[in-house]
């Protein structure tokens, strides 16, 4: 699928990824700390981080806000049944909304599961989420053949993604 990108990662890249998966060290010279950990110079680390940012292996560098503790207590996974030929257009429209944090096309499993577009909608509470979902439904018009909001009722497990192994 994306073999081109990950084949360009060498062992040192992987060590840098492992060293920064949980975050950038909060010290004056973070790249020096990483460099010491992975065994190269700070300049080399910065060069590789820059390259990974340019080729999309790193999406971005910065703060990842926690919606929940910042007052967005309503977080709904919304799912939509959109005609396949319209899913890109609709997905891009939804993904650009400021209260949507992720939007993906996923496969249907008919007849039990007819939805092909997923979007995480954030609001202060459930009623705000519902208003925003209505806004999306209005924007989609006839392209929306059905939708639902799935709220999470419990976190059953949460561990970090095993992003890379430095072997």
């Amino acid at each position: 699928m994306t073999d081109i990108e990950h084949n360009t990662l060498d062992d040192l890249d992987r060590r840098i990824i492992v060293a920064t998966q949980s975050g950038l060290p909060l010290v004056s010279e973070p790249y020096t700390v990483i460099a010491d950990e992975v065994g190269c110079s700070a300049t080399e680390v910065m060069k590789r981080v820059t390259r990974m940012l340019e080729n999309g292996i790193i999406r971005r560098i910065g703060a990842v806000p926690n919606h929940y503790t910042l007052g967005f207590k309503g977080n709904g996974m919304t799912v939509w049944d959109i005609p396949d030929e319209k899913v890109k257009q609709c997905g891009e429209m939804i993904g650009a909304l400021d209260f949507v944090s992720h939007a993906y096309e996923r496969p249907r499993h008919q007849p039990e599961w007819n939805y092909n577009l997923f979007a995480m909608v954030h609001g202060k509470d459930r009623s705000e989420v519902e208003k925003k979902v209505q806004l999306i439904a209005d924007m989609l018009g006839d392209d929306n053949r059905g939708h639902e909001i799935l709220y999470s009722s419990r976190i059953l497990k949460k561990t970090g993604l095993r992003l890379a192994s430095a072997k």
Binding site: M1, T2, H6, L9, I17, T20, S22, G23, L24, L26, S28, E29, P30, Y31, T32, A42, M46, L53, G56, I57, I58, R59, R60, I61, G62, A63, V64, P65, N66, T69, L70, G71, M77, K88, G91, E92, G95, A96, D98, S101, Y104, E105, R106, H109, E112, W113, F118, K124, E148, L150, Y151, S152, R154, I155, L156, K157, L161, R162, L163, A164
Partner: protein, 151 residues
């Protein structure tokens, strides 16, 4: 909203959800932009992490591009089997997050494997262990995700 954030915290969050500088002293460079000191920026970031206002700070990796397998999976489990299946699913180290959701599809988990070809194998193992079907819903397309969460 954003209860304990003061104006400077907000400026940090709104300015640096991406685009954090890559240089020898990035906190110094970013602090200058914000009109605060390097120490103040580091302390505030640490504070927001401690209070869990930030999930993390640093590079955000594009998981699929690291060569591993990643998929969202869902199950429809009868109430009386839920706890048993939950234990069985969570026992797989490949299950990274797992959420109960209010729906007939009442269990949703992310599977992260070291290689993409492990996904179908693990799915099958979960089905065999639990006796329930696993609906595999890997990402087919991702739509633009802006840097926009304003606090």
């Amino acid at each position: 909203m954003s209860l304990e954030l003061d104006e400077i915290d907000r400026a940090i969050l709104n300015t640096y959800q991406g685009g954090f500088p890559i240089c020898e002293r990035p906190y110094q460079a970013a602090a200058e932009q914000l009109g605060i000191t390097e120490t103040d920026l580091i302390n505030r970031l640490q504070g927001m992490l401690d209070k869990k206002q930030l999930s993390r700070f640093g590079p955000m990796y594009h998981a699929e591009r690291l060569g591993g397998g990643l998929s969202l999976c869902a199950m429809r489990i009868a109430e009386e089997d839920y706890d048993r299946v939950n234990d069985q699913v969570n026992a797989f180290p490949e299950v990274a997050h797992n959420y109960a959701r209010d729906h007939a599809f009442n269990m949703w988990f992310v599977l992260a494997t070291e290689s993409p070809d492990r996904i179908p194998t693990v799915l099958q193992e979960i089905e065999q262990a639990s006796g329930y079907r696993v609906y595999n819903m890997p990402k087919k397309q991702e739509f633009f995700i802006g840097l926009k969460f304003e606090v």
